[in-house]
């Protein structure tokens, strides 16, 4: 790597400085007069909740969107970033949260697509860079065969090959095990030491404290604070990020465990898609009043497990899934719901709800049977409307009314509606996947409270999540899903996230207590 040649007496200009960046979408100002600067060799955090305007800002910095107002200075000189290509020409690299990768292509092709002039000997250079920064990568592998962590390495290597002067990472650890995240931090510190400026976007306070030199905090599209994370209490940062009315996390309660409500044994499921994960010999038991957490890194079979439990993909052996001791493995979702097994899948739009349907139709979607909304094959519209109103009121859903399309609701409100719809059916067993994904903090707290409430009322809850903090807070027991197999369930008390991280990384034997 090129050595920096700092001029001692004069403070160098920031690598990138943004002044008064404003971006509006219709009436909504996604970014309003945002100022911040990233220095060479600095790891700078951009901290904010979902919807705070981080993604918009990052897209502007990488040339994917154009600001309506404001200016940008690169090494002290005013510049315009018209396209991602122009951003790369300046020396800006970007690691996307939702990777910009091509599944059915090789690692090498993926890297080449991200470079403006790939040049000859690319495979060799990929190997060089991956050695230098300990990011092991085989250029000839197909992306579809790689784990999420490996995929992220492609994005990083792709940036590093262009010797970036500013590297932007958008929520990079949301898909990593704690150990993988630590390795990533090592790489980033190495890069910063080389003089690369790093802009690190996250809402995870702990890792920002561990990694970042300075932080700029966004809320509602505006800069609401700046701090040195290492010297600022977490609580104070959280307050700045969320604003007033920070709700406390649910208090842990102990509930008496009742009869077995859900029993899963020897559950196998082939992958649904070409690049999916097969489930092998899944087994666990869940009692009334219990919350079971299923931890794991994305892409290890979470979607498949949710579909196997809900009945979206039935299996041959009836006794693979037992609801209240009744075999249900070979039954579809409608049958299982009649038996009291309800479910909230991870993807809200186009799975848990139909975006273009009204809230009434979306309530009817799953509740029509248990809420008695059909008579002689005909829809009982009045009852459906009444139920929808009740869900909206009970769950504090912000919507224009029962006739509003699901697509018009924010992520948090739609999630509250969906959860409310399932709870309205008085479930014996509730399976929820990523209940607070992309949901603001207050909605998340409300959702957690509702899940605990169901357990206290004698329901049994399975929470499939990648958020370890969420699982440690909610669950009585936790099992780890890795490569399509489920570990033994472990009591949450005395369980560390390091231990879980090892299990999530597939080091089951090493992690055995």
């Amino acid at each position: 790597m090129r050595a920096m040649s700092p001029i001692p007496s004069i403070k160098p200009a920031p690598r990138l400085e943004a002044r008064g960046i404003t971006k509006r979408f219709g009436a909504l100002a996604a970014n309003e007069a945002i100022d911040f600067a990233v220095e060479p060799g600095e790891i700078h955090a951009l901290l904010g909740e979902n919807g705070a305007g981080k993604s918009t800002l990052v897209k502007i910095l990488y040339g994917l969107l154009q600001a309506d107002e404001g200016e940008m200075l690169w090494n002290g000189r005013e510049t315009r970033i018209a396209s991602p290509r122009a951003a790369r020409a300046l020396g800006i690299g970007m690691v996307f949260q939702h990777f910009s990768l091509f599944e059915a292509m090789s690692v090498l092709e993926n890297v080449a697509l991200g470079l403006d002039r790939p040049g000859p000997g690319l495979a060799e250079r990929v190997r060089d860079v991956s050695r230098t920064y300990s990011l092991p990568l085989d250029p000839d592998r197909m992306v579809s065969t790689l784990s999420i962590g490996e995929r992220q390495r492609i994005e990083i290597v792709r940036c590093l090959l262009q010797s970036p002067r500013l590297l932007i990472l958008d929520e990079p650890t949301s898909v990593l095990t704690p150990q993988e995240a630590d390795a990533l931090f090592g790489t980033l510190r190495l890069l910063a030491a080389d003089g690369c400026a790093i802009l690190y976007i996250s809402h995870k306070l702990d890792e920002i404290r561990a990694l970042c030199d300075r932080a700029t905090i966004l809320r509602g599209g505006k800069v609401v604070g700046r701090c040195v994370p290492a010297e600022t209490p977490v609580r104070q940062m959280a307050q700045m990020m969320i604003g007033s009315g920070l709700r406390d996390a649910v208090a842990k309660t102990t509930r008496p465990a009742g009869a077995v409500r859900l029993k899963v044994q020897g559950l196998d499921l082939p992958p649904a898609t070409l690049h999916g994960t097969a489930l092998r010999d899944i087994g666990f038991e869940l009692r009334a009043g219990e919350i079971l957490g299923i931890a794991g890194v994305a892409g290890n079979g979470q979607g498949e497990l949710q579909q196997a439990l809900s009945g979206e993909r039935p299996v041959r052996q009836a006794d693979a899934v037992m609801i209240d001791a009744v075999p249900a493995g070979d039954r579809d979702a409608a049958w299982r719901r009649r038996r009291g097994l309800c479910c909230v899948p991870e993807e809200r739009n186009g799975h848990a709800a139909v975006p273009e349907f009204s809230l009434i139709d979306n309530a009817f979607l799953t509740a029509h049977d248990r809420a008695d909304l059909v008579s002689r094959g005909l829809v009982r519209r009045d009852r459906a409307r009444a139920l929808t109103r009740r869900i909206i009121a009970d769950c504090d859903v912000r919507a224009a009314g029962p006739d509003a399309a699901a697509a018009t609701l924010s992520g948090g409100n739609l999630q509250k509606f969906i959860l409310g719809r399932e709870l309205a059916q008085d479930p014996a067993v509730l399976v929820v996947a990523q209940p607070t994904w992309g949901v603001d903090t207050n909605a998340a707290a409300a959702i957690h409270q509702a899940l605990v409430g169901l357990a206290e009322a004698g329901g049994a809850v399975v929470v499939i999540s990648q958020d370890l903090d969420e699982l440690l807070m909610l669950s009585d027991r936790i099992a780890v899903l890795q490569g399509g197999t489920l570990s033994a369930t472990l009591p949450t008390d005395g369980l560390s996230s390091e231990h879980l991280g090892l299990l999530m990384g597939g080091a089951g034997a090493a992690a055995a207590p």
């Binding site: 991602p84 790369r88 939702h98 910009s100 091509f102 599944e103 292509m105 070409l274």
Partner: protein
């Protein structure tokens, strides 16, 4: 069957396969970019009639072929504008293109029905065409050669060039391609234009060389078979060539059996063969062990709008 006859059958297979191959190659590129254009039949017909009209009016085959190519591309441009800029449903828009193209070709062709034109001139390949017996295979018109050259050129483009890599990327993950900074819609529009040009060319081959005349609906479903060939070929150019020759062969075999009177089978049953064959092949490749190796471009048929 004599060797002479076999060569004759091969010869007619080549000519029967050429329009299918040209149209299929165009559609293959379109689908690789992630767009499904069901309007091939309409574009072929319009290409066929406009090429024929120019040939009949000017007698200039090069001009006729160019007109057919332009006509196909023009119709494709309408399709491209609708599905890319206005994000209309690709299936419905493709059907509209076929209905419109069929009507338009009949309208243009009203004054040309039954008029004869000279077929395209044969261009013998030096040396090869002098070989006894099989030499006839190397004495064909320019479009037959062009179709084969196009297979090699498209295969090379997709596999070995940067442009091909980007085109495949756009069809595989449009959002990723967009976030890296590739102009997804522009690339797709160019692919659609190319597909239209190739369909027009395939149509021109029918009306200028295969049967040098204009008859309403003369493609008789070849546009749809071209679409099936793309699926059959698993979106790979050389396999498309194989598919086109296979379907061309089925057509020729049916004509041969019909003409020879060897089998006491009604001609209509034999004429069903290409269509039934298509269904059979689609069934074989859509499931079971073949499926994994034949997966379509991931974004095929999905509309794309740059996110904000």
């Amino acid at each position: 069957m004599s060797a002479e006859m076999l060569v004759s059958l091969l010869l007619t297979t080549m000519t029967a396969a050429t329009p299918l191959l040209l149209a299929a190659l165009g559609e293959l590129v379109v689908e690789r970019a992630g767009v499904l254009n069901l309007g091939v039949e309409g574009m072929m017909l319009t290409g066929a009639v406009s090429g024929f009209a120019i040939m009949s009016l000017t007698g200039n085959p090069a001009l006729a072929i160019l007109t057919a190519v332009a006509a196909g591309a023009l119709l494709a441009a309408i399709f491209g504008f609708l599905v890319l800029s206005l994000m209309s449903n690709q299936v419905a828009t493709g059907l509209a293109l076929t209905i419109f193209g069929t009507g338009l070709s009949a309208l243009i062709g009203t004054g040309f029905t039954g008029r004869p034109v000279p077929g395209l001139a044969k261009l013998p390949v030096p040396v090869l065409s002098a070989i006894p017996l099989v030499g006839r295979l190397f004495d064909q018109d320019a479009l037959v050669y062009l179709a084969i050259v196009a297979v090699a050129a498209i295969a090379w483009f997709l596999k070995s060039t940067r442009g091909g890599l980007v085109l495949r990327a756009v069809g595989e993950a449009d959002l990723s391609a967009h976030s890296i900074g590739y102009p997804v819609l522009r690339i797709r529009f160019l692919a659609i234009l190319f597909g239209g040009a190739m369909a027009g060319l395939g149509g021109a081959y029918l009306s200028l060389a295969y049967t040098p005349m204009w008859v309403e609906n003369m493609t008789a479903g070849r546009g749809w078979i071209a679409l099936a060939i793309v699926v059959f070929a698993a979106w790979r150019p050389w396999r498309a060539a194989g598919g086109a020759y296979l379907f061309g062969g089925i057509t020729v075999l049916q004509l041969y059996l019909q003409g020879s009177g060897l089998l006491p089978i009604p001609p209509q049953l034999l004429s069903m063969l290409p269509y039934l064959g298509t269904i059979l092949v689609l069934t074989l490749i859509s499931s079971g062990p073949f499926r994994a190796r034949f997966s379509p471009p991931a974004c095929l048929g999905k509309p794309f709008r740059p996110p904000t």
